[in-house]
Symmetry: C2
Subunit: 344 residues, 2 copies
DNA sequence: ACAGCAAGTGTAAACGTTTACGCATCCGTT
DNA sequence: AACGGATGCGTAAACGTTTACACTTGCTGT
């Protein structure tokens, strides 16, 4: 491994000068600088990250914590964040806890060891990691939680929520307008995102508000196999068996909807003629499926950009008085998978 | 920030003892250890990663470099790698260069600063980063390249390739057996994976071997929008216009195939009745689409596990004589998107 | 009773950087 | 001619760890 000292020896200067020449923050004579740069390149010098971090306290790295690789919506958010981070000369490093609460804790704890300057995270649930979250705040480390569930108004943490109230309201309105009266929601038992629990609650509230009874029975909990599509596939069978009179379904996300549509197709049920399906997240697949999916859209760009904004605001030590909470709007995108309720 | 010294002061010992107590590698009296652990917990001590790395030279982290978040196949591989890494007490940190050759270089260069113990990487092309790759080898840092293109037999690097020769052979055989004589391949102009170029070459060779003429015209290069599905969507229009007599298409990957199928559906063309489509990668979407996709399957588990195996083999300084190259088999999964060629 | 050994702990050095401080040197001004 | 300031660079300290080494105990075996 080539160090500053090696470069210094070869150049005939002190290693302080080499450091200065390479960083360009302090004054060095042009002649020396040129020589240093040349020697450094020739020797293949790379600054040691650990040494640099230890000294400067800055990693120039943002940690992104995801519940799983493979959620297209999260990936799109990651992409935006990556883009913004890159523009501000920061690196993005992503870790996934694969829906394992254990690993979720570990990931957060790891980040507290100063592996990065702060964190942006989708978390499954907040309460089990609240203590860790508090640490971030106390140590003045930026921590932005995405898809913030409603049950954590007291934890001191920045977050970006989604206006699910409005979103679900719109869906129900849309479906009711199409004549649907018996609507169900299909959900993974191990929810990938913290907001799933909220979705269930809000769905119930929405149904009640729309004047439908028997709301509590309208949630189909599908045991999770770890493969959301598969869960959707299986839930279609259960739906037909256990909720035979339902005419419209809201799926936890678009992957689940995709699995359901596939199974319904195999079983000879037509979407939306026999049953209407609404997805969530507006993943790329929603536009592509046949039929294309009616879905609740959250703008990944907006989420990513807002997250980065809050992050760098904190990083620049602006203020640490109050947690920032931003709620982003949702849009219902109507496509082919919803239609008039089957009469009868 | 709480350091070893803080804990030592509070415990009334030296910081060396604290370190020993916490790591448990050296002998400490049970009494002291217990007290140290308790104080450490009370103060909320977290070992500083940079300090630890600087001293020990070990990061216990594997770097995973991907061309983009959002490729489902890569994500599945990432998942397996994550799993294996976790079992061996290593963390996985993922970075994506979003198909930007510039960032690709930067990512690799960053990893050379010892941010992690080594790297597993999908690279777009090897030649532009060959110099960096060589550095890994020289510094005895594990570097496993996935989806290894065929043109880099001389670079000293470990790699896992896929038996595309056999894969494409099988596809052509399958299609020819169904009576197809005019087959095209559709490809992104900016290929996401290094092996795309190979796929094109091997496809041509395969056609030639199968006795078809005019092979050179059978590749449709679709300018990339960065959204592979969109590219597939657009390429369907071009295909019908520019290659009207083609009866079967091999798509660069399943997302592209999905886009094509969607567009063909909108244009009233039936798959596979009017045109057969073959995908690549066997992403989750392949099983879910209507019609489900005939596709070339690479086992993500196998790729991930093999990569990890090679990685840790290197890490334990076994041998550094020769690059390891492993070629994994491919399987053709026949589903609904291919059928008999339309006669006439 | 004393050598020898093991267990437990403290001291100090190292890992590779950045940067405050201080010392030369050089130039321009009086 | 002498002085002041700017410029360039070397010295040293610091960041938080781990660990080799040495030192004190207390114990065993002769």
């Amino acid at each position: 491994m080539v160090t500053l000292r090696d470069v210094a020896r070869e150049t005939g200067t002190s290693y302080a000068t080499v450091s200065r020449a390479l960083n360009g923050k302090s004054r060095v004579s042009p002649v020396t600088q040129k020589r240093v740069l040349e020697v450094a390149r020739r020797l293949g010098y790379r600054p040691n990250h650990a040494g640099r971090v230890l000294q400067s306290g800055k990693t120039n790295t943002i940690g992104l914590i995801l519940p799983c690789y493979g959620d297209p919506h999260h990936n799109e958010v990651a992409q935006t964040i990556q883009e913004e981070a890159w523009q501000r000369q920061h690196e993005l490093m992503t870790v996934s806890f694969e829906m394992d609460p254990n690993r979720e804790r570990t990931c957060l704890a790891n980040m507290l060891q100063r592996k990065c300057d702060g964190v942006i995270a989708y978390l499954a649930r907040l309460t089990p990691v609240e203590e860790l979250i508090r640490r971030f705040w106390e140590q003045r480390l930026p921590c932005v939680v995405l898809g913030l569930p409603h049950d954590v108004h007291d934890t001191p943490v920045d977050g970006i929520g989604l206006d699910l109230v409005a979103g679900i309201e719109q869906v129900i309105e849309h479906l009711v307008g199409l004549g649907h009266r018996r609507i169900a929601m299909v959900v993974d038992r191990i929810a990938s995102s913290g907001s799933i629990r909220d979705r269930v609650l809000l769905f119930r509230a929405g149904l009640r508000r729309a004047g439908m009874q028997d709301c509590s029975r309208n949630i189909l909990f599908q045991p999770s196999t770890g493969d959301t599509v598969q869960d959707g596939y299986k839930s279609a069978d259960r739906l037909l068996r256990e909720y035979p009179d339902v005419t419209a379904v809201i799926a936890m996300d678009d992957r689940m909807a995709a699995g359901m549509i596939r199974r319904l197709y195999e079983l000879g049920r037509k979407v939306p003629d026999d049953i209407s399906i609404v997805g969530t997240d507006d993943m790329w697949i929603a536009r592509t499926l046949v039929p294309s999916l009616t879905t609740i859209q959250f703008s990944p760009e907006k989420i990513g950009k807002t997250a980065i904004e809050i992050f760098f605001d904190r990083l620049d030590r602006k203020t640490w008085e109050q947690p920032k909470r931003i709620v982003l709007p949702t849009t219902l995108v109507v496509r082919e998978s919803t239609g008039p309720a089957k009469s009868g």
